[in-house]
């Protein structure tokens, strides 16, 4: 069992007491956090080359990206500043139609490299060729929640559903527990009732959760009201989908007060994507209301084609800024709450809050170390404020996932970046 000692760190625990420890030692044993002690108490048994001097570094629980389509790195910057439907129909879908399984594998790898560099230790993915995404996560030593996207209008929708259920059952907890599976019905407006009912049955039989887009745009909610006489949340609830646990509901921008009550009551994980909602002009989700009602709220980047990165520090900051502006209240979503959403909140939204999202003995050792020895993070009046309002993804120095170092001193340990660049390049030359 491998042991690592991170010495003399400032630790933002994200625990119930919101503790920030200074000059502390963090001991990792196997995949877990073994202990947190004042600096100097934990030096005996750990080999010298497994001791990290973290003076000047700040440890946080790794960010959990609660909603993305990781392989869409392949389409980053391929089309921007367009209305949603022409963007999808003229640019995104034609290119996506050509993608094969290995393209998705390498696109996912590119996204994982980006995320590890940004201190993200887990991502919740919904895309085509889900086995490729799961394989990429395991090969990279990355934690992932993986669901295949299910769209009822595809000609092989039934077959895909069968394969997705099989995958969810077989890959559940693969790779030393790194991979969690879900089913991924795309959205209420792309999946009819009879199909959603089969998804619910499938999820129950496989013992997995559901990842779905919900109430992302005003138009979607208006259409649902017109067609079903119900909001998307009401409709999903009526179909029993919200009784599955966990449900990771991406976006949730346009909610009624009754919708909010339902989401809270059913402990649905709201996966808020402020960057995507701003860039696509979808609207401002009612996050302060959801938080006040004690909803489970996490943060996600959405796909890198509509963001255009997988940077969770940015989402944390945007969540703090957007809701201050939107509510007109400069005290809305304070720094601590924003950081909590991007770590522990996301973990809870994905149903893995018992394992990750806090730095606490017994938790999996998913930890990011941020390098504070830089002018924009100085002076250190408040480290939590600095992570939220001043830091950037490139400040991440080292990252552990499941107790394993995946980046040390900005060097990736499990991935060959130049190979990833080459593979993506070669594939795009053929595709575009």
């Amino acid at each position: 069992m491998e042991t690592w000692l991170i010495r003399n760190a400032t630790i933002i625990t994200m625990d119930d007491d919101r503790r920030v420890l200074s000059d502390s030692d963090l001991l990792i044993e196997g995949s877990e956090i073994k202990s947190l002690q004042p600096d100097g108490s934990e030096t005996s048994s750990v080999p010298r080359d497994r001791v990290i001097d973290a003076s000047g570094l700040v440890a946080i629980p790794g960010f959990v990206n609660a909603h993305t389509h990781c392989a869409m790195t392949l389409l980053r910057g391929y089309a921007d500043d367009m209305p949603l439907m022409p963007w999808l129909e003229e640019r995104v879908w034609p290119l996506e139609m050509k993608l094969g399984e290995e393209d998705v594998y390498w696109g996912t790898m590119l996204g994982i490299a980006e995320m590890i560099r940004a201190g993200v230790t887990c991502f919740n993915d919904m895309y085509h060729y889900f086995e490729a995404a799961a394989r990429a996560a395991i090969d990279a030593g990355m934690r992932a929640v993986v669901s295949g996207v299910l769209l009822a209008f595809l000609p092989d929708a039934d077959e895909r559903l069968g394969r997705a259920i099989e995958f969810a059952r077989d890959w559940k907890e693969k790779g030393d527990g790194l991979v969690v599976t879900m089913l991924g019905p795309h959205a209420p407006y792309t999946v009819p009732d009879h199909f959603l009912e089969r998804v619910v049955e499938g999820a129950k039989s496989a013992g997995v959760g559901i990842h779905i887009h919900v109430s992302e745009t005003e138009g979607e909610v208006a259409d649902s009201q017109r067609e079903f006489g119900q909001t998307p949340v009401e409709r999903l609830d009526g179909l029993g989908l919200l009784d599955v646990h966990p449900v990771a509901a991406a976006h949730c921008v346009h909610l009624t007060d009754a919708d909010i009550e339902t989401l809270v009551e059913k402990r649905v994980g709201v996966c808020h994507c402020p960057g995507s909602n701003m860039k696509l002009a979808s609207g401002a989700a009612p996050i302060p209301k959801l938080l006040a009602a004690d909803a489970v709220v996490g943060l996600g980047t959405d796909g890198p084609a509509s963001n255009n990165n997988l940077d969770m520090i940015e989402e944390v900051r945007l969540s703090a800024l957007l809701h201050k502006l939107h509510s007109g209240d400069p005290t809305a979503v304070p720094a601590w709450q924003a950081l909590e959403m991007g770590t522990r909140g996301s973990a809870r939204a994905l149903g893995i809050g018992d394992r990750v999202g806090q730095i606490k003995p017994g938790m999996k050792a998913d930890v990011a170390l941020i390098d504070f020895r830089q002018p924009h993070l100085f002076p250190r009046h408040d480290v939590v404020s600095h992570v939220v309002y001043a830091a950037r993804a490139g400040d991440v120095h080292s990252v552990f996932i499941n107790g394993r170092p995946v980046m040390l001193n900005r060097e990736l340990q499990t991935l060959d970046e130049s190979r990833i660049f080459q593979e993506v390049n070669d594939r795009l030359e053929r595709l575009t």
Copy 2:
């Protein structure tokens, strides 16, 4: 005369034709950009140690931070998530009262180090101890527009105005043209008419521009209507202040259509600060309307105590995201326009658009090289989109100001960062 050759770069020119050149050579002679040529045409006369291989790097005109209070780095994270008045009265002002000239010098130095690392090559500063800010800029080789803040309620307001006019006259174009001076009346609500009239006279006699906060909050505009029967823009116009050139008007969040017409007609430089406006819940400035009316619009960070950094890539991105959300139009403020605001637009707003803001022969060589050899900037479907939507300040690789390298391969060339950290630390220990 020093000569530098940046070889094989991708160059975002920001010129009238919005050209992006690939595989190009950028020749710097003395303080100016001498030529832009296809790679390989410019190798003869430049010594080998002054040639930079910029394969994989993207050159942009250095960012111009059109509104800040740089030395407020000292208060970064000192208080957040508070309403404006308690924040100022209970936290900011009591600490600022204790600051001396050398504290401001070192606080400014810390901000300059941060800005150079972030590809910012010029900043427009308004603060106490303006000579210290100007000295810091010259010592660092940084371009700066400097004005002392003028607050009529201070006991020595008259004396300060006299000193500010003297400074503006004497320091105009100091340090090889690096420093431009202005007068800095704080805001219409802190400076009465008779004082503003003296500022206008002073600016005219010294031949300098004016830097002022305008219509930042709804309350400020309502108060102005109540007290003067005029919006702040109307009042400043009535006092002749907008006939001074240039006027750099920070924020301009709450404007009437008539205000917009006035700002356009008088060629006032609107210095938009989206990050600060979001964090302090001030509101969303009518940027799409201003741009459609052909206003001069630049971007600024505001002070690092209310932002909490001096990161212009973040402001560029926020300007693109905020106005899409606020207008409900995903095509609002496209990538190119956002980047233009943060470079050329800011330069025009400060009255130095004839010298900086574009990569073009004859312009001053203020250039940032961004390192694109990273997963979050790959693949390279669109380099402008990537700078705006995916890059971060830490991606800046090298920076030239006035033809002089101030950062090469992430190493600062003119500043001793550890000395700056030490000085700031020691001073804060005494102050707090």
